[in-house]
């Protein structure tokens, strides 16, 4: 009985695909399924996963946010420049700045979406351009390379919570990034399941009019969701910086569609109101494996975008085809008379 229930959820299918694909990659290149590789994957994808959580929650509320990656890079670039110019070499300071920016930019998104009731895709397209243009114009365009990077950021990037020794004595470890991801997941799960604001997000995604009538403060909920998404983007921005040790103000922008693809593949409905954190993580896992490991099976990185697109197209095709076939007319005849 439980298996039947599982079968109804699209997350199950995506998980299956992840497992199958991993098996396939491992068969071609056994180096895939090693602890070291797994830890490495977790380290490099935790940031994206956190971003995906934010996008997922906006999607739940019935909106589509394409400005998250821009907020992330703005948070990152400005915070690193502030650290450098003020000389304060503190990772918490970096996070504080980035998070503050994320919250503010998210709030601006919320203003346009909730006050003017404008279509969210177009609003966030506009704000994304606005934020990025403003940053490039008023802050600068020079990249910060590893040489100019504050030490605390570099240290943070190599911080591990768990160390494993290799045969030759060197170590690899589970990055602190993963811990942050887990913390974000727990917090988000709690908010969505156990707080009224969280339930409000589901409510406005399911039926905005009903939510208003029931007495939900829809404006407050929308502000929360976009600011929370901005907050997560801010966190991701600094994490990303620690990861690649390079701050190019033109990075990240344009990659949001891939993250949205991951969230959608994880089972979240584009129309809102439906989806799970688990599914989102599975979706991110799928996209990550695709993006990072094509090299492992010998395909050049040029195929990356194509495959992500292909997977998305196939994924949504299956989902919507399924829905179409299920949609038969109302059942009128309850009992068949002999």
């Amino acid at each position: 009985m439980k298996i039947k229930q599982l079968m109804r959820h699209s997350e199950t299918y995506v998980l299956l695909i992840v497992i199958l694909f991993s098996a396939f990659v491992t068969s071609v290149n056994p180096a895939f399924l090693t602890l070291e590789n797994l830890f490495d994957l977790l380290r490099s994808s935790s940031g994206t996963a956190i971003l995906a959580v934010g996008i997922f929650m906006v999607l739940l509320s019935g909106g589509v946010d394409v400005s998250s990656t821009t907020i992330a890079i703005v948070g990152q670039y400005i915070s690193v420049n502030v650290l450098i110019s003020t000389g304060i070499d503190n990772i918490f300071f970096a996070f504080a700045i980035s998070i503050a920016l994320g919250l503010s930019l998210g709030a601006i998104n919320a203003v346009f979406v909730s006050l003017f009731k404008l279509p969210t895709l177009i609003v966030t397209l506009g704000t994304s351009s606005l934020y990025h243009g403003a940053m490039l114009e008023f802050v600068g365009t020079r990249a910060v390379n590893v040489g100019g990077l504050p030490q605390s950021i570099k240290d943070f990037g190599s911080l591990n919570v768990l160390e494993v020794a290799r045969p030759d004595g060197s170590t690899f470890g589970l990055s602190v990034f993963f811990v942050i991801l887990v913390a974000v997941l727990l917090l988000s799960w709690f908010i969505l399941k156990y707080t009224m604001i969280g339930r409000g997000i589901y409510a406005i995604g399911g039926n905005l009019e009903a939510a208003k009538r029931a007495g939900f403060n829809t404006r407050r909920i929308q502000f929360f969701v976009y600011m929370y998404s901005g907050l997560l983007a801010g966190i991701m921005g600094v994490m990303h910086l620690s990861l690649i040790r390079y701050s190019n103000p033109n990075y990240l922008v344009g990659t949001e569609l891939g993250v949205i693809a991951a969230v959608v593949l994880g089972g979240a409905r584009i129309s809102g109101g439906s989806g799970t954190l688990t599914g989102t993580m599975i979706g991110v896992a799928l996209i990550t494996i695709l993006e990072k490991n094509l090299i492992m099976i010998g395909l050049s990185s040029y195929w990356q975008q194509f495959f992500v697109g292909l997977v998305l197209v196939m994924g949504v095709s299956i989902t919507y085809l399924q829905a179409k076939l299920q949609k038969s007319g109302r059942q009128i005849i309850v009992k068949e008379e002999e």
């Binding site: 404008l118 177009i122 506009g126 606005l130 990025h132 243009g133 490039l136 040029y302 292909l310 197209v313």
Partner: protein, 348 residues
Amino acid sequence: MNQLLSKLVKLQFKESKNKYLLIIMVLVILTMTVLMPSQFLSGSNIQSMAGQFPEFGFLALAMMLAMITGGIDLSVVATANFTGVVAALILNKATTAGVAPTVSITGAIIAVIAVSIVCGLANGSLIAFIGVPPILATLGTQGLFLGLATVLTEGYSIGGFPLEFMTVGNGTIIGIPIPFILFVVGAFVVALLLNRTQQGFNMYMIGSNPTVSRYSGVNNSKVIMKTYVVTALLAGVASIIMISRANSMRPGYGSAYLLQAILVVVLGGADPDGGFGNIPGLLMAIVTLQVTQSGLNIMAFSPFFRKFMWGFALLLVMAINFIAQWYSDYKRVKKMRAQSASAAEVVS
């Protein structure tokens, strides 16, 4: 003559939004003219403006068609990239192989048409037959097409086209840039499609309410399919202009156009939910934006400020649209109640 003029005026203002647009457009042109008369109104500037926007204009036309049907085509730029890369490769390989320019150019154009149609069919099938929401379908195909373009070029930019081909993008006829002429023809054809064909009529209706159109005997799938094939073809035309002007093509070229296309379509009066949109409005919007961009350029604003400006402009326009729509609804309802009340009085 008077009749013709009044007909033209009526056509223009069929949508009430066009009135505001005209005012905005004139204001912007005047501002630029006043701020830097010699540079802005110079022959070279006008020629350069007229040459710059057509490649974008075709993309905007494509986007508007998709939005009229209540959808969106996030893959237009990717389609242009893909078809452009294919054409570029053909031209490049053919030129190095010593093939005559007329042959290679014809071949390239045929290839663009063919590839565009395939791309359009892909989008159309996903949306019309499988029922995938346009935003998701074109999100996916965007990756597919761009990915294919990347694979074909391995990230490099392709060049080496026959000289004759360059004239398409850079040549002029009696001083008017060829791309501009192409765009005028294109806009005219699309206007014809929208206002004078069954396909166009049905596109508006499907955008308004696809259930009602189905109940009314419209073949929704066919109309949607044709829509996305046409958008892809328009993207294909854009790509020819692009590669001819730049004398090269690389995947990722024109990515900024996507946002701008949506901006211009919305500014031009199309409803993102579908059912409305017209050529005069779109043209005025394009002109307004082109003039603004050109002006900012002359005033030596950086491209980053422009990016900031696009975002700002889009948001401002939507906010104004929202308020204007609310206001015109208010006035219209008031007027109509008064009219039907007086009509009722006459009857009873």
